[in-house]
């Protein structure tokens, strides 16, 4: 089938699209062709540039370079309004409906040429027509706040269809769906494809891509790693395109700690209860020994944040126990954990670790306020704060200006600030989530080296990442987290990125059963 479409020219062609955020190349000269009657999957890790690229096409961001061609003619899309005019529609990752409105009202808001006085019957009728044709059953009069996430997604798709979009962009539509809902969604997409719609599906789940896509483009680090037709693609090839990178130089001495010593951290059958769209952890058993780096691989949103939070004490265990240095600290306060030498480098330094309107120096003192308080708390010892930072700066060899407001720092500098803070005071257990996200090559090396240094001085490290190369280089042991469960445990020497990649993306692979 797809070979037939080859003859047609692409309906939309992106040429040399480039976008820079804070000196990070989110999109680096990307070319992409989108055809009618085709599902085009954009595959890649988080941060590979998939969403950015599609948001540029939808006019949500403006590209710094490159052009967009519609049927071969260059067009300018500077706002979602422009995009709608050329019949492009997008469903965002976090759905964009008004909860207090009914389905019909939400859809009506989006209709082109809406009359001044709403003809509710006509709108309901149009909704019913389209929803019947594509199996998108929702009651037009239902309140959106009472719909499940899956139904809300149907409303989003209906909204696009009724607004006469011909190119539908879906940003990780399956992230929040249950398996049977995913199947239903693919059925719907299949019908739409038959009716000539062009569909772009952003995802990082291999299985889905292979199930429904006609054409697959893999992005990696803001570039196109490869573009294949479904017939040419295999799991193996896609994993290779998604994850494979050349290894960078790093001094790692053989492991110093031994497994026989008592673990720094031990989780026994830990379970959490998630609220809303979060993920619950189930039956997590985990031990980290002194001088050991335990890597956790997984596509983000599979329980990594919850795992970090449970160790830190932010999230409560509803079942199971947590031991630190052999002491039972289940559900103890974060302050207790911090005082016991736990430090935490979170996935998002701006929202999860820093106070934006404080100076860098003030931010540096926040995790250790008891240590820096003078006269029982009536003043703060800023000299010592600075001395401590300076000492860590010497070790890490990167620096930040201490007297600027944290908010004004770029993402990379903010990450540096947090790494500096969390690496001082010789932590005994380091939880590092996406340690090197946003860092340049040199800082990445320095941060990794420092982690190794901490390991050699007997600290335990829990390293969470999507970057398999980083995990394979740094970890002494490697876990794979999928859907809130640990689905694999390896020594890095005994496995390869393919096996781990398959487990991360939830695809079946024969030798996964062996582990």
């Amino acid at each position: 089938m797809p070979n037939q479409e080859q003859i047609q020219p692409p309906v939309i062609a992106l040429r040399g699209i480039t976008k820079v955020f804070n000196s990070v190349m989110a999109n680096d000269h990307i070319d992409l062709d989108i055809y009618n009657t085709e599902i085009h999957a954009l595959l890649g890790e988080n941060g590979a540039g998939k969403s950015t690229l599609m948001k540029i096409l939808f006019g949500f961001y403006r590209a710094d370079g490159g052009e967009i061609l519609l049927n071969g003619k260059p067009i300018i899309i500077h706002s979602p309004r422009d995009a709608r005019e050329v019949r492009i529609g997008m469903v965002f990752q976090d759905l964009n409906l008004i909860p207090a409105f009914t389905v019909a009202e939400n859809i009506a808001l989006f209709l082109p040429g809406l009359k001044a006085v709403l003809d509710r019957q006509e709108i309901d009728q149009r909704i019913n027509e389209v929803s019947q044709r594509y199996n998108l059953h929702v009651k037009p009069q239902a309140l959106v706040s009472q719909l499940s996430i899956g139904e809300q997604q149907k409303v989003e798709i209906l909204k696009l269809l009724l607004s006469e979009a011909r190119l539908l962009i879906l940003d990780e539509p399956t992230r929040v769906l249950a398996p049977h809902e995913i199947e239903a969604l693919f059925g719907i997409l299949d019908n739409l494809r038959k009716d000539g719609y062009a569909i772009v599906l952003i995802t990082h789940k291999m299985k889905e891509v292979l199930n429904c896509a006609d054409r697959i483009t893999v992005l990696r680090g803001g570039r196109v790693a490869g573009s294949l037709l479904r017939v040419e693609a295999s799991e193996h090839r896609l994993v290779k395109l998604m994850f494979e990178k050349e290894l960078s130089g790093l001094k790692i001495n053989p492991k110093s700690g031994s497994e026989s010593s008592a673990p720094v951290l031990e989780l026994q059958d830990v379970e959490t209860h998630a609220e809303g769209a979060g993920i619950s952890l189930h039956g997590i058993d985990l031990g980290i020994h002194p001088g050991e780096v335990v890597g956790v691989a997984g596509v983000s949103g599979n329980g990594q944040r919850e795992l970090c939070d449970v160790v830190l004490g932010m999230e409560t265990c509803v079942k199971g126990r947590k031991f630190l240095h052999g002491k039972d600290l289940t559900n103890q306060s974060i302050q207790t954990m911090r005082k016991n030498g736990v430090s935490f480098i979170p996935e998002n330094p701006l929202t999860m670790a820093s106070v934006p309107f404080m100076t860098v120096l003030e931010n540096m003192a926040l995790t250790q306020t008891w240590r820096y308080a003078l006269h029982g708390g009536f003043s703060m010892d800023w000299k010592t704060v600075k001395a401590d930072v300076d000492e860590t700066v010497k070790k890490l060899r990167f620096t930040v200006n201490l007297y600027t407001i944290a908010k004004s720092l770029s993402g990379g500098n903010l990450q540096r600030m947090i790494i500096l803070r969390e690496m001082s005071h010789n932590p005994r257990l380091i939880i590092a989530s996406y340690l090197t996200r946003g860092l340049d090559v040199q800082s990445t090396l320095a941060a990794r080296q420092e982690l190794i240094q901490a390991r050699e001085s007997g600290a335990g490290v829990l390293l969470i990442s999507e970057d398999l190369e980083e995990l394979f280089t740094l970890s002494d042991r490697l876990l794979v987290l999928y859907g809130g469960k640990i689905v694999g445990e390896f020594k890095p020497s005994e496995t390869d990125i393919y096996e781990v990649g398959h487990l991360m993306t939830g695809s079946e692979v024969q030798h996964a059963a062996e582990s």
């Binding site: 929202t351 100076t359 009536f378 800023w382």
Partner: protein
């Protein structure tokens, strides 16, 4: 060189201060201009009316002392809003906390009449603070465990507190002659006044509290932790700052401050607990805190301005035969203009 991490901004401090003052003067002038139209419409000469207001405030020692007197509860109740706002709590309950504080202090004044003045006054202050703190503990606790928003609970509890005070007065405390108030406090239970005016020790208390607030926020460990919570509660929690403890404690301290305002009103201003003695003092504090952006200097300035307006309102009522309610229009204009935040020069944002 390392006294405080905020040193980097010291060089521009005076210019910033001038900027802020200019902006506020402009806004207040604008409010007075708008109110001038209202006065014109009601058939009064605005210029003459404003002259009355200002000559009443600045024309005599007595007039000026009345302005200072009116400032006292405003300063304290504004602080009762400003402190919780630093950890992101919105305390609309100053009014209720003030009533309960006044009731607690009154109990002390009526029960321990024979104590020497300084012990009795200290006891009444502590009681007033205890009362306000207890009244604020309920919303603070409910907020900390994530049950109810503190804005709603504090607001609702405002209508309960005066009823409790009424119950106490009617039921137990009313004087032999009058059922709507207690017997007059003994002189040991009265806050001392200064220089033959009605301005009482509450003024000193208010200024000390204001200075303390500024010092705590700027220099202490607790100030740092509170600013962290106000700036990013999630990050503060992950950094090991005990969020719940702070929410409850700070709310209670805010309540205690409002309770102290109640004590200062019954002990310093009235010398007796009257039924419904406060018509919106707590809300006035809320208004002033917002006008001042929660800054100590701003609270001082805005209290002064609002005190001039309200005492001047009394004067207009006497001399111009204007209903007192019109002064609320001027206050509303002030609030409106400040919230709209017009700037003199474009491109300079607060």
């Amino acid at each position: 060189m390392l006294q405080s991490p905020e040193l980097y901004s010291r060089s521009t401090f005076s210019s910033r201060l001038i900027n802020v003052l200019a902006r506020y003067s402009f806004m207040i002038a604008l409010a007075f201009l708008l109110f001038g139209f209202i006065l014109l419409l009601s058939g009064n000469d605005p210029i003459q009316s404003y002259k009355d207001i200002f000559s009443s405030a600045f024309g005599s020692v007595y007039g000026f002392s009345e302005v200072l007197l009116a400032m006292i509860p405003m300063l304290i109740t504004a602080l009762a809003v400003a402190l919780p706002s630093r950890v992101g709590l919105i305390n609309v309950g100053g009014e209720g906390q003030l009533y309960i504080g006044a009731a607690f202090a009154t109990w002390g004044a009526l029960t321990f009449q024979n104590l020497p003045a300084w012990i009795l006054l200290l006891l009444m202050m502590l009681l007033g603070m205890l009362g306000g703190a207890l009244w604020a503990f309920v919303p603070g606790y409910l907020k900390a465990i994530g049950l109810v928003n503190e804005t709603i609970t504090t607001l609702l509890m405002n209508s309960v507190a005066p009823k409790i005070v009424g119950f106490l007065i009617f039921g137990y405390w009313h004087s032999a002659m009058d059922t709507v108030k207690t017997a007059n406090f003994v002189s040991a239970a009265r806050l001392p006044t200064f220089f033959g005016t009605r301005v009482h020790l509450g003024m000193v208390l208010a200024l000390v509290l204001l200075a303390l607030f500024w010092f705590v926020m700027k220099y202490t460990r607790w100030g740092l932790e509170m600013r962290a919570i106000g700036g990013n509660p999630q990050a503060a929690r992950r950094n090991g700052i005990p969020l719940k403890k702070y929410l409850i404690t700070v709310m209670c301290i805010g309540g205690a401050i409002a309770g102290l305002a109640g004590m200062s009103q019954v002990s310093g201003f009235y010398g007796v607990l009257l039924l419904n003695f406060s018509i919106g003092l707590g809300f006035m504090g809320f208004l002033i805190c917002w006008l001042a952006g929660g800054e100590p200097i701003g609270i001082l300035l805005m209290s002064f301005v609002v005190a001039i307006i309200t005492t001047g309102g009394n004067m207009l009522q006497l001399t111009r035969d204007l209903p007192y309610a019109t002064i609320n229009i001027l206050l509303a204009f002030t609030l409106f203009v400040v919230l709209a935040r017009p700037t003199l020069s474009k491109g300079k944002k607060a």
